[in-house]
């Protein structure tokens, strides 16, 4: 249903996220999608690409430059306005929370833009979730390494079995209401100070 004719530009400081959003839009049927990163001559590049819709991340300082396109519209042939659906403030709230905003060529029908913005919002959220999960996985791996090291120190220096070393730290953590990794870190620090 004529998705192909809308040209969409993604401006994002994170190339990884831009790729995720681009893929999402292309998979949903919008084929004319391009991406650019931070740039000093933003307006010239936008004018050259002449997009109908611009998706930009909220952390991007270029948003202020982009906004002059509706203040000083005589400089561009196609006036651009921020997309705000007056009938659906829930949606704009969700977009800001996800860290994304959209600008559209003035006069484009809202029902044509809304699914684009919705796709971008869900992709931003998905990217955020993936990044969080990756960070958590890394933190967990780090924790496990600490526990292994502390266990080894206790076995070597206190003659404990692996199971007893683990149980000792586990019990201390519960008693002090602290994380097992924190106790492991304390054990490591204590042995390091003795050395």
């Amino acid at each position: 249903m004529g998705n192909a004719d809308l040209s969409i530009l993604i401006i994002d400081g994170s190339p990884d996220r831009a790729a995720v959003v681009e893929r999402g839009l292309v998979e949903a049927g919008w084929v004319r999608v391009s991406t650019i990163g931070p740039s000093v001559n933003l307006l010239a590049r936008i004018q050259a690409l002449a997009p109908d819709v611009i998706i930009i991340d909220l952390e991007n300082p270029d948003r202020d430059t982009l906004e002059q396109m509706f203040q000083v519209s005589r400089q561009v042939q196609r006036p651009i306005a921020m997309f705000v659906d007056q009938s659906d403030s829930q949606m704009i709230h969700a977009a800001i929370e996800a860290g994304v905003s959209a600008y559209v060529v003035d006069g484009l029908r809202q029902d044509r833009i809304k699914p684009i913005v919705e796709t971008a919002v869900s992709r931003f959220n998905a990217f955020d979730r993936l990044r969080r999960e990756r960070d958590e996985a890394q933190a967990k791996l780090q924790d496990r390494k600490l526990v292994e090291r502390a266990k080894g120190l206790l076995m070597k220096n206190r003659g404990l079995s692996e199971e007893d070393a683990y149980t000792l730290m586990r019990r201390t953590a519960m008693k002090q209401n602290r994380k097992l990794a924190d106790i492991a870190q304390s054990v490591i620090t204590a042995f390091e100070m003795e050395l």
């Binding site: 000093v40 991007n60 270029d62 202020d64 430059t65 000083v72 705000v84 800001i96």
Partner: protein, 340 residues
């Protein structure tokens, strides 16, 4: 139990007041857990404030008026400004190349920074026009900013028409110095430390300061939604007291070193402390935080701002009630005996 207030700020030297309030215990003393949120653009600060993702903001003085009037690119939001967050701090910098041309064109006008330097610029513009060269480009930080109006005032003082004789654009402060260095623009009006930055790198020279152009104007203010103010009246008074005490602290000479260190931190401006310290000591562009009534929002300034909006073609030619937005009465209430 401390009550959390989410306050957004844009990393500039004049965001000092909320930073000091949060870090030096002034907010905690009023029972406030001041949660600071850094924003990279005025557009994002505006959106988060308008749609309630933050409660309060360190914001360009003209922007709450523009939001209230529905001019700022989003639907109108009833706004309140119960406090100003300092004065001064801005400057106009031109490229060293343009500075040289201005000096050659009118050495007398260029003797010292001020409105007079624009007379030299006019001569450069006339020479460019005679030679058929393209217009010079200048940038400020946001359409609804004192920087934009100060740039216009400076140009007008030289007899230059801002809408036909130069290109005016918008660039975020951290991008200004590099844009000047790369030759994308010939000059800009911005808050510190972004003038010092270009001057120290040798890519730009200061030609006028806010002190020269609009000395009594507020620069940033505390922006709130009227709805939030109505729901949190006493909390607002506490917030004003905390921020005012922070402003007093920030002005004190003996705290300048600690202030520079606080501003320089990666979670705030993330710049070398020497640059911040130099900018805080720079005569003409160092901001005032508390002195000379720098925290009291004066309605005559709101009216001047609206006249500037009109002159810039941002608002139909009529003066709306600035008093709906600027609320010195709330500021006074924060220090009346019944609330102390």
């Amino acid at each position: 139990m401390a009550i959390t207030v989410k306050l957004g700020f844009v990393p500039l030297i004049d965001c000092a007041i909320p930073l000091v309030a949060a870090d030096m215990g002034f907010a905690a003393a009023e029972g406030i857990d001041l949660a600071l949120e850094r924003e990279s653009s005025w557009a994002s600060l505006r959106d988060k404030l308008a749609f309630g993702l933050i409660d309060a903001a360190h914001i360009l003085a003209p922007l709450p008026l523009a939001m209230h009037l529905g001019l700022a690119g989003i639907p109108p939001v009833a706004m309140a400004v119960p406090m100003a967050l300092g004065r001064g701090g801005n400057g106009i910098t031109v490229s060293t190349d343009l500075y040289g041309r201005m000096q050659a064109a009118d050495p007398a006008a260029m003797e010292r920074p001020g409105l007079g330097t624009a007379i030299a610029l006019k001569k450069v513009i006339l020479a460019d026009r005679a030679a058929g060269r393209p217009l010079l480009s200048f940038a400020s930080v946001f359409p609804f900013s004192c920087h934009h109006y100060e740039l216009r005032r400076w140009l007008l003082a030289g007899g230059i028409d801002p809408s036909t004789e130069v290109n005016l654009g918008i660039i975020a402060p951290p991008r200004m110095a590099e844009s000047l260095g790369a030759g994308w623009i010939d000059g800009y009006c911005v808050g510190e430390p972004w003038n010092s930055r270009a001057v120290m790198r040798g890519t730009g020279k200061l030609v006028a300061t806010k002190q020269d152009i609009w000395p009594d104007s507020h620069e940033k203010v505390l922006g709130l939604r009227q709805r939030w103010l109505a729901d949190n009246h006493d909390l607002t008074l506490s917030l004003i007291r905390a921020l005012t005490r922070a402003a007093l602290w920030a002005d004190a000479a003996e705290n300048r070193q600690a202030l520079a260190a606080l501003l320089a931190e990666p979670r705030h401006l993330g710049l070398p402390v020497e640059i911040i310290a130099a900018a805080l000591a720079q005569p003409g562009t160092a901001p005032l935080f508390h002195r000379d009534g720098a925290t009291l929002p004066r309605p005559n300034i709101a009216r001047e701002i609206m006249r500037e909006m009109m002159a810039a073609g941002q608002w139909p030619p009529q003066i709306p009630a600035a008093d709906d937005v600027w609320r010195p009465d709330i500021h006074h209430a924060a220090f009346s005996h019944s609330h102390r």
